[in-house]
């Protein structure tokens, strides 16, 4: 009996499989639960009228979120892609680069409420934007910047070195190589990162709490970048905490709308990434 | 653990073995043919004629082996020279076999007649020529350039022996015309032996090429030196 294994290979295989499957299910469960609860409680309230009504409905919030997201992207995307290009194509290993990467990681780790406070101090007060679309977008841009940089850099690194070599060997400069070969081939990956960033920006509450969001019945839509704006997460927060006598249905419907928006963006990004991976040829 | 290309090295060794076997066989043919002539032994002469088939077969087999190695092994540098040399050497050895047959045929023709003198010089020449052939093949096996030089020197001695026999028989034929048919036959045999010696020098030249990578006409260059030497003495050098 000495030397015999405790479990036969067949049994240990089945046990491992069961364990791993269970872990996967445990991870899935919360997501399913959240969506299920939202749907159960909010589906009834999510009528077309609710979505499109200007007062008492979601349209201003949706419009506000859209504005925020567009502006955030306009700020974060160029900066993020440029930083990624620098890190991937131009930088040489050394102290400076290590510090930059450390900064990016730390930026990503900052809690979103801290982002909000920082945005309040810098954009709203110091730079004098006031509570505005602009201040909110800048704050959100800082929030999603690490995500943009990381996703873009990964996309750039995916481009095989032999393509760069081919361009360089023909007498191309580094920038020409980046512009004509690397960037176009990394674009799908970069766009995927962009969509993920957008999804993230759309769902954040704390950063816009101090910098942009306002609930105003007189001016539901922003007229300029310096206007305050209503956003879905803020709408939900206000409905849940400050306004009395809001029907429960409305609250859950708002929550469901928000969850659908965020999950929707993520789903699009995932599908896009999968299709691009399958289609990639080089 | 086998060395790289050990299989190829073994094939090259095998090739060399077969070459040595063929050369020893032909050397024996020559020795038998001369003995048959000296002892007027018709049966021995017939045996030499039969041997020629075997010699030709060996020639063909070795050549095919060489071609196969060229095709399959992509030999370079000295491997290539070894194979090329072997192919040329078997041609020379095969010709030596043919000359042995010529000697044997002469022996058959003269077997019944009485010699006007006992054969002394021709066997001596044959012995020297046999040594030359042995030396040339030993030079190949042992990469011995000194032996190559010896073969070239021995060739000069064979040439001298040939001229001496020519002078001697010229004189004797003038004195007694009745011996002319036999004398001519003996002269031809001596000529065959001299040609065999030339072929062994060819073999020696091939060995030198195999070792050094340079093709040189050793006999001719040596003959030039010989001519210069002779110019210093009384006798004018004879044209070969």
């Amino acid at each position: 009996m000495i030397g015999r294994r405790v479990l036969s290979p067949k049994v240990s295989q089945a046990a491992a499989f069961a364990l791993l499957w269970t872990s996967g299910a445990i991870v899935m469960l919360p997501v399913i639960a959240v969506v299920a609860v939202m749907v159960l409680l909010g589906a009834r309230g999510l009528t077309w009228r609710f979505l499109t009504a200007a007062s008492g409905g979601l349209l201003p919030a949706i419009a506000g979120t859209a504005c925020l997201v567009v502006l955030t992207t306009l700020i974060a995307a160029p900066a993020g892609v440029a930083a990624a290009i620098y890190l991937s194509e131009y930088s040489r290993p050394g102290r400076a680069i290590r510090l930059i990467r450390l900064a990016i990681v730390n930026l990503a780790a900052i809690p979103s409420v801290v982002h909000g406070l920082f945005g309040l101090a810098l954009f709203v007060m110091l730079l004098g934007f006031g509570r505005s679309l602009l201040a909110g977008a800048c704050t959100l841009a800082l929030l999603v910047l690490p995500l943009m940089i990381t996703a873009s850099e990964e996309a750039l690194r995916q481009v095989p070195q032999r393509l760069r070599d081919g361009s360089l060997a023909l007498g191309g400069s580094r920038w020409q190589t980046v512009r004509r070969i690397v960037l176009p081939n990394a674009l799908p990956g970069i766009i995927t990162g962009l969509i993920l960033s957008v999804g993230r920006a759309a769902g954040e509450t704390a950063p816009i709490l101090f910098t942009a969001a306002a609930y105003s019945s007189t001016h539901p839509y922003p007229r300029s970048v310096f206007d305050q704006v209503l956003a879905l997460p803020y709408q939900l927060y206000v409905m849940a905490t400050e306004i009395p006598n809001v029907p429960a249905e409305a609250k859950w419907a708002t929550a469901l709308a928000l969850v659908m928006v965020v999950l929707g963006f993520n789903a699009v990004a995932i599908v896009m990434r999968a299709r691009l991976r399958a289609a990639r040829r080089w | 653990m086998r060395r790289t290309r050990q299989a190829f090295d073994e094939q090259l060794e095998q090739l060399q073995q077969r070459l040595l076997e063929m050369s020893a066989f032909v050397e024996a043919m020559l020795e038998k043919a001369v003995r048959a002539l000296r002892d007027q032994d018709a049966a021995l002469a017939q045996a030499v004629l039969a041997d020629d088939d075997t010699a030709d077969k060996m020639d063909l087999e070795i050549e095919q082996h060489c071609m196969r190695l060229l095709a399959l092994q992509q030999p370079m540098s000295r491997d290539l020279r070894i194979i090329g040399t072997t192919m040329k050497v078997i041609a020379d050895v095969e010709r030596i076999g043919d000359y042995s047959v010529d000697v044997a045929r002469t022996a058959l023709r003269l077997a019944g007649s009485r010699y006007f003198k006992p054969l002394v010089d021709i066997p001596k020449m044959a012995e020297l020529v046999g040594t030359m052939l042995r030396d040339a093949l030993q030079a190949l096996v042992h990469h011995d350039l000194d032996l190559v030089a010896k073969v070239v020197r021995d060739d000069d001695e064979v040439d001298r022996m040939w001229y001496r026999l020519l002078d001697e028989l010229e004189m004797k034929m003038q004195q007694d015309p009745s011996i002319v048919p036999q004398a001519i036959a003996f002269l031809l045999v001596a000529r065959y032996l001299e040609r065999v010696a030339d072929h062994t020098v060819n073999i020696a030249e091939r060995v030198a090429y195999m070792e050094t990578g340079r093709m040189e006409d050793l006999a001719a260059s040596h003959r030039a030196d010989y001519a210069e030497e002779k110019a210093g003495s009384d006798e004018p050098p004879r044209a070969p």
């Binding site: 070599d165 360089l168 004509r180 | 370079m76």
Partner: protein, 267 residues
């Protein structure tokens, strides 16, 4: 057999005729590791020069010194001179872009860009300021003809280059290099990834091209070197052991190590 003493026993031969590249005591380091030691050699113009040697001997590193593609790798250091005709290409102020236009490179694995065949060949000329459409068409056709690929692709120039077979892709890469009208074409094991038929076609192409271009090819297949090149250099552990006429290197090499290598008695 030891090195033969005598008139022709020089190990590194300087070719007759005009010299395209000359290195003088070239040393190359990857960080602390020395990849090339004191390599001094002259590469003849409009000939095919092959560089052979076992893996890791430095032949590819040497090749990449000739168009400064080693600059792309971190931590590379060069000592000594590399002269393209009269100019040291490592001198300060050298225009590397111009250098790489004059000295093209074909890589081991064919690396066509993920674009059409036409755009691949037109890439180089467009980099350097392409002529108008007609001019570009002419350049593309001429380059594809020179690379013996025109007849096979003339009807599908707009199709993706990635649809071509391996051998065709490699000829496309050659056409791409030729489109910038270089003087030298460097080839780093160009046939390693190809089947024998494709290999022989490219070898035939090399023999045609050498009338107009100087070609330097690194190959670990010494039989290929013996087939196509006029001059051969044997590298071992970062040193150039022997350099001379290909016929000489393969028929009767001077150095024992070269002899062992060409006879396959290495290791």
């Amino acid at each position: 057999m030891n090195a033969v003493q005598g008139e022709a026993s020089q190990l590194i031969v300087r070719p007759q005729g005009s010299i395209k590249f000359e290195t003088q005591r070239l040393n190359m380091f990857y960080g602390a590791f020395q990849a090339l030691t004191d390599v001094s050699v002259a590469i003849p113009e409009r000939h095919i020069t092959a560089l052979i040697g076992p893996s890791g001997c430095g032949k590819s590193s040497f090749l990449r010194c000739l168009d400064r593609m080693n600059d792309v790798i971190q931590g590379v250091r060069i000592e000594g001179k590399v002269l393209l005709e009269e100019d040291d290409i490592y001198a300060a102020g050298t225009d590397v872009v111009q250098l790489r236009k004059r000295v093209g490179m074909v890589f081991q694995t064919p690396n066509p860009f993920p674009m059409s065949i036409y755009d691949n060949v037109a890439y180089g000329p467009r980099l350097h300021g392409a002529p108008d459409r007609t001019g570009l068409d002419q350049i593309v056709e001429s380059s594809l003809r020179q690379a013996a690929l025109w007849d096979e692709v003339k009807d599908k120039l707009r199709q993706s280059a990635l649809d071509l077979s391996g051998g065709q892709q490699q000829r496309l890469c050659i056409a791409r290099v030729l489109a910038v009208e270089p003087e030298v074409v460097l080839m780093d094991e160009p046939c390693t990834a190809l089947d024998p038929t494709a290999t022989f076609r490219i070898e035939e192409l090399m023999l045609e091209l050498r009338q107009r271009y100087t070609i330097v090819i690194v190959t670990h297949n010494m039989y290929q070197a013996s087939r196509v090149s006029q001059y051969t250099g044997f590298f071992l552990l970062g040193e150039l052991i022997e350099f001379g006429l290909t016929a000489r290197i393969f028929e009767s090499p001077q150095d024992r190590r070269t002899d062992d290598y060409v006879r396959g008695r290495f290791g």
